[in-house]
């Protein structure tokens, strides 16, 4: 693990460098960074995906029940 981390750390630092002044969306009185907006939108998307995507149970897969 440390060896892999060293490789990642030295070669990449990180693949995408987020160390620049952030970009912000201004919507009415709301000001939000694109990073936070992405996280919030993703949460809503994941929530609805979770309740809409079918969850295959053992029975529906043709299991022994």
């Amino acid at each position: 693990m440390p060896a892999i981390a060293l490789v990642f750390g030295t070669l990449f630092g990180s693949l995408i460098d987020l160390n620049h002044p952030g970009n912000y969306i201004h919507w009415g009185f709301i000001q939000m960074s694109y990073g936070n907006l992405a996280v919030i939108v993703l949460m809503v998307v994941v929530f609805f995906a979770a309740i809409l995507i079918p969850f295959k149970t053992h029975k529906e897969k043709g299991g022994d029940r």
Binding site: A5, G9, V39, M43, F47, A50, I51, F55
Partner: protein, 239 residues
């Protein structure tokens, strides 16, 4: 007193499993605690291998995803603690482990909130599950506090900013006298000792309560009378 061979099966084995080895010891605190615990959460209930048929949605995985993320947070925090608070500023491996810790926290909070939304829309407090709901909300709050002390322990510009700004909010409540966000030593001890213990205890309690009460049943269907036993929803009864 001779004691029978412990490996031989006994006629009263079922009773013995519950109470003390000798009837006169059943009043012992130890025996009473054990009996109460096993009664409340027998093994089949503590680690069940089946769930009601209505537990069939991806929304149900977010509780366990939150716990998995918490374990990664604690594990990466453990590594950061191994090398001390200065390590990640001077080592690229350290910075990587810090990144793991940060993103594990983001995944943890993300999945906890999705779990909260799911439990809200299921009204999961119904049926004697109020304590489960409340312990969940309190876990959320303590987790926010744990993340806050983590941000304060970074020893970089971000922690300087957060501490000098947050002090105003906290001072307004009077707790600034005791909880000094600009005191790095105090904040890091809260972050790596006190709050993780509290979070783990609360989450443990929360999960035990879920096992105790079971997963909340759905609201009545259109052709059901609310409050009547929901036996029409499946031909089989729990075995």
């Amino acid at each position: 007193m001779t004691i029978a061979d412990p490996k031989a099966p006994r006629a009263d084995q079922a009773d013995l499993d519950k109470a003390a080895d000798r009837p006169e010891d059943a009043d012992q605190w130890t025996a009473k605690i054990r009996t109460a615990a096993v009664d409340a959460l027998p093994p089949q209930k503590l680690l069940p291998d089946r769930q009601p048929a209505y537990v069939a949605s991806w929304i149900y995985v977010f509780g366990v995803v939150t716990i998995a993320a918490l374990i990664v947070v604690i594990g990466t925090g453990f590594v950061l603690a191994l090398f001390g608070p200065n390590w990640w500023h001077v080592s690229s491996t350290g910075l990587f482990v810090n990144s793991l810790h940060l993103w594990a926290v983001e995944v943890f909070m993300f999945s906890m909130v999705v779990h909260l939304w799911g439990k809200f829309f299921m009204a999961a407090w119904r049926g004697k599950r109020k304590a489960t709901w409340i312990s969940g909300v309190v876990s959320f709050l303590v987790s926010v506090g744990a993340a806050f002390t983590g941000y304060l322990s970074q020893q970089n510009f971000d922690s300087q900013w957060i501490s000098t700004q947050a002090k105003d909010g906290i001072n307004s409540t009077g707790t600034g006298a005791l909880f000094n966000v600009t005191n790095f030593g105090q904040m890091i001890m809260w972050h790596i000792v006190l709050l993780p213990l509290v979070v783990v205890a609360l989450v443990g309690l929360h999960v035990l309560m879920v096992r105790l009460r079971g997963v909340v049943t759905p609201f009545a269907a259109k052709n059901e009378t609310p409050g009547v036993d929901a036996a029409t929803s499946g031909a089989e009864v729990q075995a």
